[in-house]
Structure formats: C-alpha cells, structure tokens
C-alpha cells in the first residue's frame, strides 16, 4: 500500500524524531540497567549469573519505564485540557496509537526479561548461590508470582484488544482491559520479593514497602511509575463522580432512516463542537460506556447524539424505547424507497411519553473528550471531509458555524467547504435534514459549499429516477438539497490545486491580499485510506502563499 515501511518510519521528520526518542530511550535504559548491574560490586554474587542477570535487569528497567508510559495516553481529561496548547509538539489525538506502541514495546521487553529470568533461576538452582530451586523462585516468591500473573493478563488483554475482536464484541475488550488494574498492582509489587539483594536472605521489614533498601538493591522504579497509575485511578474516580451529576434524557426522536436521536439535558456539561462522549444507560448495562459523537452545537439547549442500531447494545436500546430493529428496519426500507410512504426523509417521530406507555430510561454521560476539529475557526478556509458514518462530528461543527454566522463571530473563518463521501445517502436521512436547515439558512451563497459524493453503484431504477427528477428541479432528487450530488470518489489531486489556484488568483477569497498567507485546514473523519490520500494531497499542494493542514478524528 503505497509508501514503504522505511519511508514511513525514517523519512518523515516527526516520525523519525519520535522513533529516535522512543526507541533511543528504551535502548538507553536497557544499557544503563545492564551496566549498573554488571558494575555493582555489592551484587557480585548475583553477577556470577553473568549476561542473563544483566539483561534481565536492563529489560526490567525498560519495562518499568513502559509501565509508567502506558497509562499516560489514557489520561483522557488531562489530555483534553493540555491538547490545545500542545498540538504543535505532539499529536495528542494519536493517544491510542501511542498506547499501542508502548504495549508492543512492553511485549518485546517482557520476552527479553522473562527469557533472561528463566536462565537466571535455572542457574541459581544449579550453582546453589542461593539455597533454592528454580520453581521456588518462579512460583513462591513475589517476583515470580506477579511476573507470571502479569504475562497471563497480557495475553488476555492483548488478544481481546485486536481490532477484529474489538469490532465483534466491544464488551470483551472493555471488560478484559480492566485487568490492567491487577496488572498495575503486579507491576508495582514485582520487586517486593527482594530478588536483587546483597544478602543471603531477603531483607524484609515491618514498615512500608516491607523490605529494606539497605540490602534490597533494585531500581526502586515503582516510586516513579506509580504516579501515572495514581493519577489515572483518580481520573476514573473523577469521571464516575462527574457522570453522577444531574442528567436527564428529555427527548428521543426517531428518524425515518433508523437513527435515534437522544436529547439529553446536563447543565454541568460544557463542550466544543466535534467532541464526543461516553453514554451509559444503567438499565441496559450497569458497566458499559459507549462512545458517541455529539451532534448538537454548544448553543443548543441540549446535548444530542444520533445512534444507529448496529450492535447489541444499540439494538436493545431501540427495543427499550419501543423502536426495535424490526420497526426501524421497515422505516429504513420505506426511507430507501423514497417518500411515498407518508413521511419524507427529513421528518422524524418523537417518542411521546405522555401518550404511549414508554418511559424514558435514565442516562449517564461521561465526557466530553477531544477532537481536532475544535480548531476550525483559526483557519481562513475550512475543508470538512466526512466519509460514511464519519460525518457525525460535522453535524455539530456545521450547526456551530451556523450559530456563529448568525452572531457574526466567525473568527478568521471565511469559507467552508464541506465534503461528504458516502455509499448510500438515504441511510443518513437525519444528516440530510440537518444539512437542509443549514443550507437554507445561508445568506451568503459563497460561505458554505456542500459537496456530496455518492460512491455506491447506481442501479437502473435509480438512474432513471435521477434522470427524470433532476433536470430543471430546484432540489437534488437524492438528497433534497440544492447542491447536486456528484457520483464516484472525489479526486483530491484536482480539488486541491484548483482551490490553491482560486485563492492565489484572489477569486476565492475576495478582498484578501495575495501576499498574505492563507491557511486552509482540512478536517477529516472516516476510513484511513481516504485519510492518507488527503494527507498526501495537503502536503503536495502547500505553497508559500497557501498552507494546507490536515487533521483527522478517531473513533
């Protein structure tokens, strides 16, 4: 797929710096751990085990480092606060990516550390430098027990975290990943067995940490790496407290396309457009939190999310609200066929609690959490690209832009180009109705331009439908927008140069002086293939006058 591994890892400046710092610090710590063990005269007894003890000490120090790093990208609230200030330094939105890199590194060094210890213990038994057998060290001492236990936890956590499993059964991933709690306990207590000592027997004591550092000569790494663990734990507690604040589900709207819109009122929640949150419905599941993009603008008096019934949790939510999959399926089919069945695509049904027997369940929300599209108002031109279900964050952003347009506080933003690439438009009926509102409210026809690309194969019926209804009609027959639907995939290699040409020629942003630098920010949400093509285009077409930037959002 395109560029080579070497090109990606070494010829991109940012990645090269990251690789140098990340792997450099790992190797450096390994070398230091090795060296300080080998040259420590007090540990001469242990050093008779030679290379195996040196590498186990080195790898142990690296593992401690990784154990401290692995929780840092998971401090979601802290990242959300520092993110806006630090985007120039590191891509804070890539936190899951970093978490994974640390995990891979941890697996590798765990292999080194464990292999070395298997050699250590068999040699201890054979030489009897300590009067123990190998299996005693493995299975009766703190280091051995916690070590084997951590390896088992790693197998379970890593295997359920594979993206295939996460997609199939998010719960399996979600629940098993909480074994991290026990993993961390194991990590912090791994050295309490006092394996690294200059005395014959472990020097235990009655006071915390229950061994004396006069004779137990480990690196005491837990003193440093326990802090991310404590902060993470505190953050989870804080998230729980915050989730318990007054929250009320005020309205549920069902769109003909099958999307359920939950309108939630939570006065204590402050958010910016493009952010997302976790939702919990205790009645359905007491422990599960599900991530959703916020689709309302901060100016709206409620927080809304649009939920499509695609998984077992969302389906049971539908059942609970009396709009289960069977009901929605028939609604979706009607919507696909068009508006003959009474409701037009933009309309929706509100679940009315005063008439029906359905009550609204209690909800809890945890959030908001970051997304790069917050920075939209710092650029002159914003290119918002959503593909498939990835349009959801743009609902909030477009609404917010619309509110700010009304108030006249658009910042430096002059024009918005919105691209929506989707396979079948009718299944996103709710989004179309939103687009219709925004489009209809445009006073300046040049401010917002909507470009819709339909990538699905078009059947004969649809072709005739378009041919008959499109010509001369005011609205596009498929989307009911004034904007015409384009068919096929967008060609970024012609869109970007055209835009650059228009900006440099002064026709695109009338009034802006050509010597000024224009910033065109691209925000993307959707599959990685398109992200890559977009990123390449933004790099390729940047000139001294026009800067194209690129940011993408993750789910």
């Amino acid at each position: 797929m395109g560029e080579s591994w070497f090109h990606r890892e070494f010829l991109t400046v940012r990645r090269l710096i990251f690789n140098f710092l990340f792997y450099g610090s790992h190797l450096g710590l390994f070398a230091y751990g090795w060296y300080s063990q080998e040259t420590n005269q007090k540990l001469a007894g242990l050093n008779s085990l030679k290379w195996s003890v040196w590498s186990s000490r080195g790898a142990g120090l690296v593992l401690a480092y990784d154990g401290g790093l692995i929780l840092l990208p998971m401090l979601r609230n802290i990242i959300r606060i520092i993110r806006p200030r630090l985007t120039w330094l590191f891509p804070a939105d890539e936190n899951i990516w970093f978490h994974r890199q640390v995990a891979y590194s941890m697996a590798f060094w765990a292999m080194v550390h464990t292999t070395a210890h298997y050699v250590n213990f068999i040699n201890v038994e054979e030489t009897q430098i300590r009067k123990q057998i190998a299996l005693q060290i493995h299975y009766t001492q703190a280091g051995g027990i916690t070590g084997h236990f951590m390896l088992l936890i790693m197998v379970i956590m890593y295997s359920t975290a594979h993206q295939k499993i996460r997609k199939q059964c998010f719960e399996a991933f979600w629940y098993t990943h909480h074994l991290a709690f026990f993993f961390m306990i194991g990590l912090y207590t791994h050295a309490t067995g006092c394996f690294v000592r200059d005395s014959t027997n472990p020097a235990y004591s009655r006071v915390f940490p229950f061994y004396t550092t006069d004779h137990c000569l480990g690196y005491e790494s837990w003193r440093f790496i326990i802090w991310p663990g404590i902060i993470y734990f505190g953050e989870r507690v804080w998230r729980e407290i915050r989730a318990r604040r007054a929250t009320r589900l005020s309205k549920v709207l069902v769109h003909p396309s099958g999307a359920m819109e939950l309108r939630i009122i939570k006065p204590s929640l402050k958010y910016t457009p493009g952010q997302w949150l976790f939702i919990q419905i205790p009645e359905l599941s007491r422990f599960q939190w599900h991530p959703f993009t916020i689709t309302s603008a901060p100016e709206d008096p409620y927080v809304s999310v649009h939920i499509r019934q695609v998984g077992d949790w969302t389906e049971s939510l539908g059942e609970r609200l009396g709009v289960g999959p069977s009901v929605v399926k028939s609604m979706t089919q009607d919507a696909m066929k068009g508006k003959e069945k009474g409701l037009s695509r933009g309309d929706f049904v509100e679940i009315d609690t005063s008439v029906s027997t359905i009550t609204l369940p209690a909800v809890r929300i945890d959030g908001p959490y970051g997304a790069p599209a917050e920075d939209v108002f710092n650029a002159e031109v914003a290119m918002l690209v959503g593909a498939g279900i990835g349009v959801t964050p743009f609902a909030s952003i477009l609404k917010h832009i619309w509110y700010r347009q009304k108030r006249g506080t658009l910042g430096s933003l002059r024009r918005v180009e919105f691209f929506w690439i989707c396979r079948d438009a009718p299944s996103f009926g709710w989004f179309q109705s939103l687009l219709q509102e925004v489009e209809a409210a445009q006073a300046d026809p040049n401010f917002l331009r909507i470009n819709i690309y339909l990538t699905q194969k078009i059947g004969e019926d649809m072709l005739w439908n378009i041919a008959v209804n499109d010509a001369g009609a005011e609205y596009d027959p498929l989307t009911l927008l004034r904007t015409r639907t384009l068919f096929g995939r967008p060609d970024w290699n012609s869109i970007y140069p055209r835009m650059r040409g228009a900006i440099e020629g002064g026709s695109y942003l009338p009034g802006s002086k050509s010597q000024l630098k224009t910033k065109v920010a691209t925000y993307f949400c959707g599959p990685p293939v398109i992200a890559k093509a977009l990123k390449e285009a933004t790099v390729k077409y940047t000139t001294s006058n026009v800067t194209f930037t690129f940011a993408k959002e993750h789910f």
Binding site: E125, I133, L152, V155, S159, Q168, C169, E171, P527, P528
Partner: protein, 155 residues
Amino acid sequence: MGNLIWHEYSRFVAITATIYGIWAGFWGLFYRKFFWDFVGGTLRDPGGIQPARSAAPFITVIVKIPLLQIMAMVLGLFILALEWPLPLMRKLPIYRNLIVRIVLLLFQAFIMILFYQGTNAAIWSLIAVGCYTRAVARGETMAEAKGNRGKEGQA
C-alpha cells in the same frame, strides 16, 4: 458476550501460546530441565535437583537428548503455519477444522508442561483449547474466504 466469534478469538491466543512455545523449546535446548523433577528429587549443592529414579524416562527425552523440546518446536511451527496461516495450509482439508486445532493444542500443552520453560505456553494453550471448545459447542464454523472482495480498507 456480544457477538464474539470464539474461534477467531481463540486463534490469537493459540498463536501467542505457540510462539511462546517455540521460543521456550529453543531455550530448552540449552537449559534442559524436567519440570516435575522436584517430585521425589533430592537437592544437591551445587548441582541443583537430582531427579528421582522413577523420572528416568523423562530425563532421557528432556535432559540427555532434548527430544521433547525439538518436538515442541516442530509441533509449534506446524500449529503456527496452520493458524497464521501459511498460504499453502489453506488448501489442506483440515484447515477449516476446529477439532484438529483442539487436538494439536492439547498435544502441545502436554509436551510443554513436561519441560522447565514450557509452563506458560502449556497454560495458554489450554486457554486456547477452552475457547476452541466453546466455539465448537456453539456450532461455529470457519467461513470460506469471501470470493475476490479484497481486504478491508483497500477500497
């Protein structure tokens, strides 16, 4: 548990256990020890545990000749070829058979539990066996590769 497809999950555990097993077998060639030698064995200083006379057959195939370790590596490489999979394995009639995997993994667990380095690989193999058994009990089958649809994300 949601829509978890157990045999797809079990594959990951089996691959992990097997790679661990191959690595353990490799180190077992150089540091040979019968895991259960403490049963009836006597501790000598220096020299470590001297296994009981009854353990002699195991000592022959683990310490004198590292036969079990070599078997573990060969079996491990075969399971890995089946699970990863190696392209030519796809053509084998046993490729879509979950029972075969259970038997192979049980056999792997049995070998692994006998020598010093193999304990974790044995336990993890048994976990994979458990998950495969569950897959069989639920009537899961390995689906045929879907025509020429291509890989996800390469649209």
